[in-house]
Amino acid sequence: MNETILRTEGLKTFYILDVFGTQKIVKAVNDVNLNIRTNEVYGIAGESGCGKTTLLKALAAAIEPPLRLVDGYIFYYVDGKAVDVATLSPEAKRKLRLDYIAYVPQGSMSALNPVIKLKETYQDFISSHVSGKTKEETIQLAEQHITELGLPPKILDSYPHQLSGGMRQRVTIALAALLKPSIIIADEPTTALDVVVQRGVVQLLMDIQKRLKNTIILVTHDMGVQANIADRVGIMYAGKIVEESTTEKIYGVPQHPYTKFLIDSLPQFGDKSTRQSVPGSPPSLIDLPSGCAFHPRCPHAMGICTEQTPDLITLDTDHKVACWLVGGEHGKTA
């Protein structure tokens, strides 16, 4: 088994908003325990508004007001040693970024500074981490890096608006891989791209992962993309991980009704029946339903579901689920 590279313990990050004198608490990430390993692609899936992006912000140690770390820990394993991220100074965090943990933004439409050329963006990113290089050397490094990843080096002379959406997304992925980080966090990298371009983007991510043998944390609501590239998948609902397992088990023997709904919504070859979507819509993270947050939408809801929140229990190696349907057979504390 691979070693742990990133771990969270009872992670709670809430948005604490002050709306006309009354405090509103958005429980975007509510008690999440992750154990992400080296050399794996870990997928996080779920509908929009379930806390995926907030979880990524926390994992990237970018918790800024109004988002707050309410409880729990995030550990990075830098050179085999566990580092509690919350105790790091801003400068120490800055140095870890791109070098240890890199981020690929959601929708790279506006992720690049519109008024400077890409080579200047590259230079800013490089010179903030690598000292003692001249301007020419950094540009050379950028060109070499871009060529290695199969992108045309002349794009460095372009402004972001001169490139297509797919190309911009590839540029941000290339930037993330620049310093060979141990972890790459990708937030909806394929969203807003057409399927042909999506394939190229996913391919680029996979190539990088194969070459660097590092960890990719991939957040996307696209279950098809998850099925293709993730080694393990965590299903997120209302700020919690409700099921986590290897990709084979998630898609082969899904246990949580929500996971089943997500998988049933995928189109399949040869099957022409109408796809089912999850009934209803995700709950407001300000005012969560009692008990299991999924119970108002769940066709199998029982009495206990409205009263008590199910714990994430381990079914067998590498398969965890938080649902009373399953808990009944295996016992709450298993």
Binding site: R94, L96, A102, P105, M109, L112, P114
Partner: protein
């Protein structure tokens, strides 16, 4: 080349066209108002008690009509008007007869230019720097305090604020003079005592303009920076561990300044019409005051002279913004 053909030339044609239209209106408007400058002049002469013989009267009327360019049909007048204009001749003033309009304008111009160029430059620079910092550190206490101050100052009507300053600092505590741009009767020279007295006289008008103008620049810049700070590319640069100084300079300020540059150019273009209220409140001898007196006295030639300068100032400023903007924002390219 495509830039010249498809953008520059049409833009220059447009520039000339706008100026031509503006000046034509300047020519037309006084002629359709029921205010005959020649008869007003005669009235004024008679009011002073001079009795005129009918023969002399006709002669004076003819002379005045010629001097004001009111001879012949409107079309004749229009041609003659352009002829004089292209020679840079705006004719003689009416209420300061027979001083030439050019001389009046060029006497008032340095006062206005000196005051407004300095205040605009200082206001823009300080407003943007302080506003930018306050926007970036918008959660800090001092930023909130500054914001509150700007919020109180900005809605104050300018004339009330200007009067308050005058009352407090020129009348109650008497640190600054009540009126004028320099001591009465002083001859403008490039000597330190004269320059010092000009600065002393222009302090209150300058402060009044800078405080209110600065509050506006401050608030705009603060909001711009706050918005851009939340933009994806700034967040992305932060997550990429780019050094803070570089993010502030190259990512935030650089983008926030784009609309501010436009604002500055337009502000500079408006300098030629003077700052009327400032000049009235502080008795400052600038273009605004000159224009005001020209309007009150129905002095066509002088009004035309000042307005034409103003038209040139504003259209040229806009042209310069349009032509230089691509240097600041690569997304606006004229190809």
């Amino acid at each position: 080349m495509t830039f010249v053909k498809r953008y520059l030339i049409p833009r220059l044609v447009q520039y000339v066209l706008v100026i031509w239209l503006g000046i034509t209106f300047v020519f037309l408007i006084p002629r359709v108002t029921p205010n005959d400058p020649v008869m007003r002049m005669i009235d004024q002469m008679q009011a002073r008690g001079s009795t005129l013989e009918p023969g002399t009267m006709d002669e004076i009327i003819r002379d005045l009509t010629e001097m004001y360019g009111l001879e012949g049909s409107w079309l004749d007048q229009y041609w003659a008007f352009w002829g004089r204009l292209l020679r840079g001749d705006f004719g003689v003033s009416f209420f300061q007869f027979p001083t030439r309009v050019n001389k009046l304008i060029f006497t008032a111009m340095p006062w206005t230019l000196g005051l407004l160029l300095t205040t605009t430059a200082i206001t823009w620079t300080l407003g943007n720097i302080i506003g930018g910092l306050a926007g970036y550190y918008s959660r800090k206490g001092w930023s909130r305090v500054l914001d509150a101050v700007a919020m109180i100052v900005r809605p104050l009507p300018y004339y009330i604020f200007a009067f308050m300053l005058l009352l407090i600092f020129a009348y109650v505590v008497r640190w600054f003079p009540i009126t004028g741009g320099a001591p009465l009767g002083a001859i403008p020279t490039f000597t330190w005592p004269f320059i010092k007295s000009v600065i002393w006289h222009s302090t209150l008008p300058a402060v009044s303009l800078m405080v209110l103008g600065g509050a506006v620049t401050f608030q705009t810049m603060k909001l711009l920076v706050q918005n851009i700070n939340a933009e994806n590319f700034v967040q992305y640069a932060k997550l990429g561990g780019v050094k803070e100084g570089r993010i502030v300079g190259k990512y935030i300020i650089r983008n926030a300044l784009l609309p501010q540059i436009t604002g500055l150019a337009l502000g500079l273009g408006q300098i030629f019409s003077g700052a009327l209220i400032t000049e009235i409140v502080y008795g400052y001898p600038g273009l605004g005051m000159l224009l005001y007196r020209a309007i009150v006295n129905g002095d066509y030639n002088l009004i035309m002279g000042i307005v034409i300068f103003s038209i040139f100032g504003i259209t040229t400023a806009i042209l310069l913004v349009d032509l230089t903007y691509p240097l600041f924002d690569p997304r606006v390219r004229y190809t």
